[in-house]
């Protein structure tokens, strides 16, 4: 039996500690992991818990991130609770196996501490790795602060392990800004935390020796399409309502409320920015300040990135007149991903909203309040003109001459 850890009601944790504590409390059976900045402390903390009797599962330190996810897949198929953590280059190395995990319908939880992907090599936060995972068939939750990183892990396990879902899930948090910034985190006791997720219920488990199973088969043109369609179907029709159910259950359990699409002062807003990660909280502060000056502005935060909450987002944005899509990843040859997703979300809704795109914060560059004020001023001009008054895509916080496209 693992030792119980006595926690204060509010602990001062960074995002990494919050994630590792959640993994400990749900009593993960196998963690196979490999260290990479800035997610390393998740693994180190977990190793420390293991070394001191707080974990009675297996902690396997493998030789690469690819092996980490490979080991997680083997462990999950064997039939138990499985999790790991990674960032950036490690995430990129894992990508092949991410598709295997989702295609094999294995409920693995991956904490992704978002970081830029080289070259040039960079250890700081941006969303390049998160975007890289977006077609991999995983559920993707986005945390904006350490509290979210803690809570969303419990929610992720509950959704992923549901037998109607059986899909892996990522919990994203911003490298350093969340992962290394300590804040007050409301905790659950070990008993409460575990009870929210409950005992792991195996399905198609290799270790059920009386019922052998074959995992990871070959399908060609005769069956592959049907398999992938079923996977998509599960994400679209099952996962999204189950996530909402889990959010509702979590709110009842802890009083902390999460939404598929997070909104701040959006109801009567003319202009909103849409973003992810720590930028959501920065934008909320700016909105408070601009509201005090009479500007009708708001923030939309993407909480569930995959499956994409298209209908919920369209509903939230139905009365908005100007939208700034803030992408923290280099689009390399097109508009930003959020711009694309939001354009796709709004296209058939009859909206007249003006949509523009801002690329910001690559490689850990700060997004300042002044930047956001500038963006909201652009959006205000777009509202007044009823059309874009700026190029569709602008780079924010970049040194040198102003860079814009389209």
């Amino acid at each position: 039996m693992a030792e119980t850890m006595e926690l204060r009601d509010i602990e001062v944790w960074d995002g990494n500690m919050a994630a590792s504590q959640a993994l400990r409390q749900v009593q993960v059976d196998v963690v196979a992991a490999y260290p990479i900045t800035p997610s390393t402390p998740i693994v180190e903390n977990y190793g420390n818990f293991t070394a001191n009797g707080y974990v009675d599962g297996e902690f396997v330190m493998v030789e690469s991130e690819h092996a980490a996810m490979s080991g997680c897949i083997g462990a999950s198929a064997a039939g138990g609770r499985v999790a790991t953590a990674t960032s950036s280059q490690g995430f990129a190395l894992m990508v092949e196996t991410l598709y295997s995990a989702s295609g094999m319908r294995l409920p693995i939880i991956l904490n992704v501490v978002n970081r830029a992907i080289g070259a040039p090599l960079n250890v700081n936060g941006d969303h390049s790795d998160m975007y890289l995972g977006r077609d991999s068939g995983w559920i993707q939750f986005d945390a904006y602060c350490p509290q979210d990183a803690y809570d969303l892990n419990f929610i992720a396990f509950k959704v992923a392990e549901d037998h109607d879902v059986r899909l892996p899930a990522m919990v994203h948090q911003d490298g350093f800004m969340t992962s290394h910034t300590a804040q007050g985190v409301h905790t659950m006791t070990d008993e409460q935390g575990f009870a929210f997720v409950g005992e792991f219920q195996p399905m198609n488990d290799m270790l059920d020796l009386d019922h052998p199973v074959t995992h990871g088969v070959q399908t060609e043109e005769d069956w592959h399409f049907e398999h992938k369609a079923r996977q998509h179907h599960a994400l679209m029709t099952v996962a999204l309502p189950k996530i909402q159910d889990a959010f509702d259950a979590f709110e009842k359990y802890t009083g902390r409320k999460y939404n598929l699409v997070e909104t701040y002062n959006v109801e009567d807003a003319d202009s909103v920015v849409i973003c992810m990660g720590t930028s959501v909280e920065t934008a909320m502060e700016v909105v408070d300040e601009l509201r005090a000056k009479g500007m009708k502005v708001g923030v939309v935060g993407i909480r569930v990135f995959r499956p994409w909450p298209l209908e919920q987002l369209a509903e939230v944005l139905k009365n908005v007149k100007a939208i700034g899509a803030l992408d923290r990843s280099s689009p390399h040859g097109t508009v930003g991903m959020l711009y694309n997703e939001i354009a796709g979300t709004m296209f058939n809704t009859g909206t007249k909203a003006v949509l523009t795109n801002y690329i910001y914060g690559l490689g850990g560059r700060d997004l300042t309040k002044a930047h956001l004020v500038g963006i909201f001023n652009d959006l205000k001009a777009n509202v007044d003109a009823g059309k874009p008054t700026t190029p569709l895509q602008q780079y924010i916080g970049l040194r040198g001459p102003k860079l814009s496209f389209f």
Binding site: V30, D56, S64, S70, G71, G74, A78, M206, T214, H215
Partner: protein, 318 residues
Amino acid sequence: MSEIKKIKNLKEFSTSSDRFEGANLLCPGCAHSIIVREVLNATNDDLILAASTGCLEVCTAVYPYTSWDASWIHIGFENGSTAVAGAEAMYKALKNKGRLKQPDRKPKFVAFGGDGATYDIGFQWISGCFERGHDMMYVCLDNEVYANTGGQRSSSTPIGSSTTTAPAGSTSYGEKKNKKDMLAIMAAHGAPYVAQVSPSKWKDMVAKIQKGFAAEGPVFINAISPCTTEWKFAPEDTIAITDLATDSLVFPLYEIINGSELNITYRPKNIIPVRDYLGAQGRFKHLFTKQYEYLIGEWQDRVDAKWEQLQRREEARV
């Protein structure tokens, strides 16, 4: 520990409970299925199996069919070892937590991979598994070529073999590099047991598989698997070719215990010339021309030197 299965004779061995079904898509004459059956039939214990991408995998688990009557997993080309290591870690975790469904049964964990998956693309994963000491067996089905993708060279391909990516031609005798000594590398991990086996020497093979199953920790088995398609011989000659490999000492049968104690387990009564082994296969056909004939002598010298080295290591017990 579980009891070691008693095997009296070949008839009993070949007809004992089969967890690898004859219904599969492997080529007629493929040695893979013979090797897999010999490994699986060597034990009565439960099995948790993995396969890396390759001939064995694509021919035995084509949805909605499976040839496996034991739990089996495939992820990718490079990670069959780590797949089964993950399952083994879960077994330990659930045992520790008292959540095994059949707590009295201890399964064996076995991963299969071709030489491409073993010598090349999966090398790091296997090394990691062995360094960490997972209680598992890794079986390399060594056909010295990327057979599943149509005959490209791997680092197990021997010198002078013609492959699609190192073909013999007017200015080339084919593969230029020596076959990698995988057994020495795996022994150097300090593994409790590593061995080379041949499916045609079934008594030797089953004894080694059973030793491997009895060992605690990672076990590496390198099995010669003549490929009728890429080595270019008639499907009915698989066993004859395998015998030529062992009896010419091109593929010597030996084991290394705890990384140091080397035992030669098969000494042919009549050692046949390497020339006879090479001459039986189309992949070496070009060596029997004036231009490249000198390579046959070099082959023989290399095989003699290796045999000498193995005998000296066996004597020295280091």
